[in-house]
Amino acid sequence: MHFFKLILRNALRHKLRTGLTVLGFVVAFLSFGLLQTIVDAWYAGAEGAAPDRLITRNAVSLVVPLPLHYREKIRSVEGVKTVAAANWFAGVYQEPKNFFPQFAVDPAPYFSMFPEYRIAGDEFRAFLRDRKGAVVGRKLAQTHGWKIGDAVPLKGTIFPGNWEFVVRAIYDAGEAKTDTSQFFFHWDYLNETMRARAPLRANQVGIFVISVADVDRAAAISEAIDQQFRNSIAETLTETEQAFQIGFVKQTEAIVIAIRIVSFVVIFIMLAVMANTMAMTARERMSEYATLKALGFPPSYVSALIFGESLAIAGVGCAIGVGLTFPVGNWFAQQMGTLFPVFEVSGETVALQLACAVAVAVIAAALPARRAARIRIVEGLRAIG
């Protein structure tokens, strides 16, 4: 009991110094948590991918389309369960800053492959009936205040012209990593409009989304699909949905790595601050540690006092920092709109914050504790605090 009393009272001896150190911890661990969550958000699409879904795209580049008739050929490959055409639309809603992902899809097969998009049956039927109908995610609808029946005009970029849509269904997240900031509409509407406006661009598909019956055969099925189109005018590249998503992330991986490095630099700076605090603390109390040793307390007791104080300060700072990560993260996600569709502080992030706090506390206290434990009593008694 005395041990913990000593640690607590020692920690509160210099309230300003301890307060500033705790504040440093709060800022550092809050920043660390948010930066780690940004990194997680970057990979959220890949983590939300299902193992039984494949993506087939043009082997040359994602921006080079595939012929529509590939759909039937892919469907005929053994092991393929469902195939849906999909195109990235990239329209602008009111102004470019209102970015959100938009896809033209084969509605029935596409949504059958994504059970994590929870759509009310009557709304989905209404969407199927309306060629200009759209399915939007809950987060996207909330961001722009859309309700069922609202008209949504988009200005095309890849597919020029003005496009009119009507919100017919709003989907909710079936899983934590489900992105509810997306906008889906009928691929047929896109194709028919393009046939009228630019006939050469009709019957062209960005990607085929495929589901397979046996996950274990996904690699073999991918190979079989690509084999079909080898030496054709549009060779394909088929990969799992996760690999496809990671491919996207890899294009911006340098940013992700930079964010990750910065998050650990913040922790390293905190380590330097904490090490300085503990060094000052121990130096000031050297005569007290020598007195304890003279009274018969072992060196391990003295070093445990320093480690304990360091852990107490780090614990309080980290606890507040972790506690604030959640509300600040929510606020940050709201400010970012649909830029980060899934922005949630994960258990891994909290565990990493706690592990870093313990590491900082232990490393910062290591040298002062060693010095205090090893100091000769007669020298320590001469030390002026």
């Binding site: 005395h2 009393k5 000593l6 009272r9 020692n10 001896r13 005569s287 007290e288 007195t291 304890l292 040793k293 003279a294 009274l295 018969g296 307390f297 072992p298 060196p299 000769r376 009593i377 007669v378 008694l381």
Partner: protein
């Protein structure tokens, strides 16, 4: 406990290494201190009196000679054994009191008892008795910063006697006190020696403080000069 002197010192020497040079501090000291003695060690600064006290208290180690306290050759003990030995046999009174500023008078006095197997109730009883002996029962909840120098030194004395040690070592116990407080502390040490039979070894450069001791030994340049 042996039948001979409580502290038995034979040809004791101590030197320090400073900048590659060996600086002798104590040379060939031979001294016996019987149980129940009140000895003052006097001498000018640098004479080695505090070093001799530190060696007897087991917080420093000699380079040569024999140093037995209560029949135990403490120079042969390991650091851990020496810590246990100090906890059981030595009470310390320092010039600057060396109290823990974050602990109350009660908690400071209780500190050495934490190293012994003792119930909370027993510890409380002993601390209250010690506080009563040093007339500080009404100040038990006070922190050192709320006490005068004389009161802090009385807390330190209570802490020194709380484990009923074999010897009390005091290094300039009145060096930081005014005359009245110094007399108060020396009177208290007299009582510890006379009424409780405590063996006290005190380092002082103050002749009026030394007069309270039953025996006064002088050191000069690391040698006992009054043999």
């Amino acid at each position: 406990m042996s039948a001979g002197p409580l502290v038995e010192i034979r040809n004791l020497s101590k030197s320090y290494r400073r900048g590659g040079q060996v600086v002798p501090v104590l040379n060939d000291i031979t001294l016996d201190i019987p149980a129940g003695a009140f000895v003052a060690l006097m001498g000018p600064s640098g004479s080695g009196k505090s070093t001799l006290l530190n060696l007897i208290a087991g917080i420093d180690k000699p380079n040569g000679g024999i140093l037995r306290v209560g029949g135990v050759d403490i120079a042969e003990l390991s650091e851990a054994e020496l810590a246990d030995w100090r906890a059981e046999h030595v009470g310390f009174i320092f010039q600057f009191y060396n109290l823990m500023p974050v602990l109350t008078a009660f908690e400071n006095i209780e500190l050495p008892l934490l190293l012994l197997r003792m119930s909370t109730a027993d510890r409380k009883r002993r601390v209250e008795t010690a506080l009563d002996m040093v007339s500080l029962s009404d100040r038990m909840e006070h922190y050192p910063s709320e006490l005068s120098g004389g009161q802090q030194q009385r807390v330190a004395i209570a802490r020194a006697i709380i484990t009923d040690p074999t010897i009390l070592v005091a290094d300039e116990p009145t060096g930081d006190l005014d005359r009245a407080s110094a007399e108060d502390i020396l009177g208290l040490m007299d009582r510890m020696n006379a009424e409780l039979g405590k063996t006290i070894i005190m380092v002082t450069h103050d002749p009026s403080a030394a007069r309270h001791a039953r025996t006064v030994r002088h050191l000069e340049k690391g040698v006992l000069t009054d043999e």
